[in-house]
């Protein structure tokens, strides 16, 4: 009986790994989430952490937000969109107990649309425009519907993200007219927001990392992004890297 338990425990390890490999294989069998070439602006290379030689790229995205104080609160993520995402927004924002009611709303797992070098980026303020060209432009519960709406897989990425609802009692700072209470959505995270760089691609980026520092300011100082990476988002909307190239800096 004891030996059977130990074998079952080993079986759990093997089964979990088999499930993981099947999941990865399924994800990479197709790229309905899009295949986009992003540059160092959107995928920046963090500096070495401790003694680790593993290379990761961190996804940097933006959105046209309701105000500069709330950079992760997109203008399009209003009460109507939140209701579409499954939040129960039926209680009027003028009711006395509404603050606590909306405070108890849970973070929702949704699908986000990230647009590369599109209209949202063109409309952004100059200081935000120069940081990243990847902008969150929409969200939904069904990825295939989003893909129907944003058909260009080379420009629109569909990935997972976390959205929360917040009750803004005094409206948006800087808004014209008297402050109006309103519901506003926040993008808490894009999942996952780090991409592992496997061999042989990591060799291309390794010496860039050795030069110290991780900030995007460095490539601004050097005249532009130093590399471009082709990334695909698969059937599970999880990314993987399929290519990297160095960009000659003037």
């Amino acid at each position: 009986m004891k030996r059977a338990m130990v074998l079952a425990a080993a079986g759990v390890i093997l089964a979990a790994n088999a499930w993981l490999l099947i999941s990865v294989s399924r994800n990479r069998s197709d790229a309905p989430g899009g295949t986009v070439e992003l540059t160092e602006r959107e995928l920046h290379l963090p500096s070495r952490s401790g003694e680790s030689t593993a290379v990761f790229l961190e996804l940097d995205w933006d959105t046209l937000s309701i105000s500069p104080e709330h950079p992760r609160a997109p203008q399009w993520l209003d009460a109507a969109k939140l209701a579409e995402l499954g939040f129960d927004c039926r209680v009027a924002v003028t009711r006395a107990t509404v603050r606590n009611y909306y405070r108890s709303m849970r973070t929702a797992l949704v699908f986000l649309v990230l647009e590369y070098e599109g209209e949202a980026w063109k409309q952004a303020s100059p200081d935000r425009k120069r940081k990243t060209r990847l902008f969150a432009v929409d969200a939904g519960r069904h990825p295939h519907r989003l893909r129907e709406k944003y058909a260009d897989t080379a420009r629109y990425i569909i990935t997972r993200g976390l959205v929360t609802l917040r009750f803004l009692e005094r409206g948006i700072p800087g808004e014209k007219g008297p402050p109006q209470p309103r519901l506003q959505g926040w993008i808490d995270a894009v999942l996952p927001d780090r991409i592992f760089v496997p061999l042989p691609h990591s060799k291309v980026l390794e010496d860039l990392r050795h030069r110290g520092g991780s900030s995007q300011d460095r490539f601004f100082a050097e005249g532009g992004p130093r590399f471009a990476v082709t990334v695909s988002w698969g059937r599970n909307h999880e990314p993987w890297m399929s290519g990297v190239r160095r960009i000659a800096v003037d």
Partner: protein, 356 residues
């Protein structure tokens, strides 16, 4: 209570030592005097028993031996932690130079090898402590393995990993009779079931803590499990289940009694908080009563501690805002004195039951 063989052997050795000390005390007080023949036979029997237990289970027969054993255990704990840290840091250093296939194989092999080592020490009867240490390391290795693979393959965090880790811990705990690993496994499985509620709701699974009620069904099941599963409880697993179930239940109810907005119930938050304050106090009483009936001081203490926390939270809610602070703390002190009196009465009751 039928514990595993090593623990049982150590308990017998401890009883023999206590018996010898008590016998010497009785002889000094002239309450009992053995004849030389009786003494010789008794000593021969006790020495034989101790020799047999030492040879079979590597138990500590003296107090100083026990102290040295603890030293050895602490040294081996620190040593194994240092070896594990060295391995992890070494892998960090070479990780970038290895292909993904090598990453996968290395990560898969580590928990399997450590589990095999745990099995080896168990079969060799090296000591349950070393088996427990290796089993725990295998569990930590498995957690790190799935986390690292998820990171390498850019996977979003999945709740199903909790199911795998929890099942592994429960199975290994049953294989070697390890209570700590069982507790960890049960908590992981309870968190997994709570995360399923979040997934059904369309929320992110890791935010299951935002709805403490989602932990309650699993906590109740874990608490009730001993009467259904452990009919012959050789490792005292029933006690672990009850402590884990009760602690999880108290924590969930305590959070709900403080913040009613986190409830699934669609009542005003104040009503929900009052309801859960009442439920909490009843549950505490129930666990204390159950602990007294089973004769388990651990359960009585858990229930009593939760009762004190609930009571103080309630007193804070009632009095803190309007009362001068020195009067508040004076009343808390008086409440503590009252509770001390009640617990002493309760302890006297338990001792009386034990003597009769």
């Amino acid at each position: 209570m039928d514990l595993n063989p090593h623990r049982k052997a150590q308990q017998r050795v401890d009883r023999i030592r206590a018996f010898r000390e008590e016998l010497a005390e009785l002889e000094r007080e002239r309450a009992l005097t053995l004849t030389p023949e009786q003494r010789t036979r008794l000593e021969a029997h006790l020495e034989g028993s101790l020799a047999g237990l030492t040879a079979q289970f590597d138990v500590d027969v003296t107090e100083s031996g026990k102290r040295i054993s603890w030293g050895v255990r602490i040294a081996s704990l620190l040593g194994s932690a240092a070896f594990f840290a060295a391995l992890v840091l070494f892998l960090h250093r070479i990780w970038g130079a290895l292909p993904t296939t090598a990453h996968f194989l290395i990560l898969l092999t580590i928990p399997l090898l450590v589990l095999a080592a745990a099995e080896f020490t168990f079969r060799r009867k090296t000591g349950l402590y070393y088996t427990a240490l290796l089993a725990l390391t295998a569990g930590v290795g498995f957690v790190m393995e799935l986390t690292a693979l998820g990171s390498i393959f850019n996977m979003a965090p999945s709740a199903h990993a909790l199911l795998a880790w929890g099942s592994f811990a429960v199975l290994v705990a049953h294989a070697y009779g390890l209570r700590l690993l069982l507790g960890a496994g049960l908590l992981l499985l309870c968190t997994y079931t709570a995360s399923l509620f979040a997934i059904v709701e369309g929320a992110f699974w890791a935010n299951s803590l935002e709805r403490p009620e989602s932990f309650i069904p699993a906590a109740v099941m874990v608490y009730a499990m001993p009467s259904l599963v452990y009919r012959r409880d050789r490792n005292d697993f029933g006690f672990v289940c009850r402590i884990c179930g009760a602690t999880l239940m108290f924590t969930a109810v305590l959070v709900l009694s403080i913040d009613g907005h986190t409830s699934y119930l669609r009542f005003p938050a104040r009503t929900i908080e009052t309801l859960y304050q009442f439920v909490g106090l009843v549950l505490c009483g129930g666990v204390v009563f159950h602990g007294v009936r089973l004769g388990r001081s651990g359960m009585v203490n858990t229930g009593a501690l939760a009762f004190v926390v609930f009571l103080y939270v309630k007193l804070h809610a009632w009095w803190w805002a309007w009362m001068p602070k020195y009067v508040f703390f004076l009343l808390i002190g008086l409440t503590a004195v009252l509770l001390l009196y009640l617990f002493r009465r309760l302890r006297a009751g338990i001792s009386e039951r034990a003597l009769t």
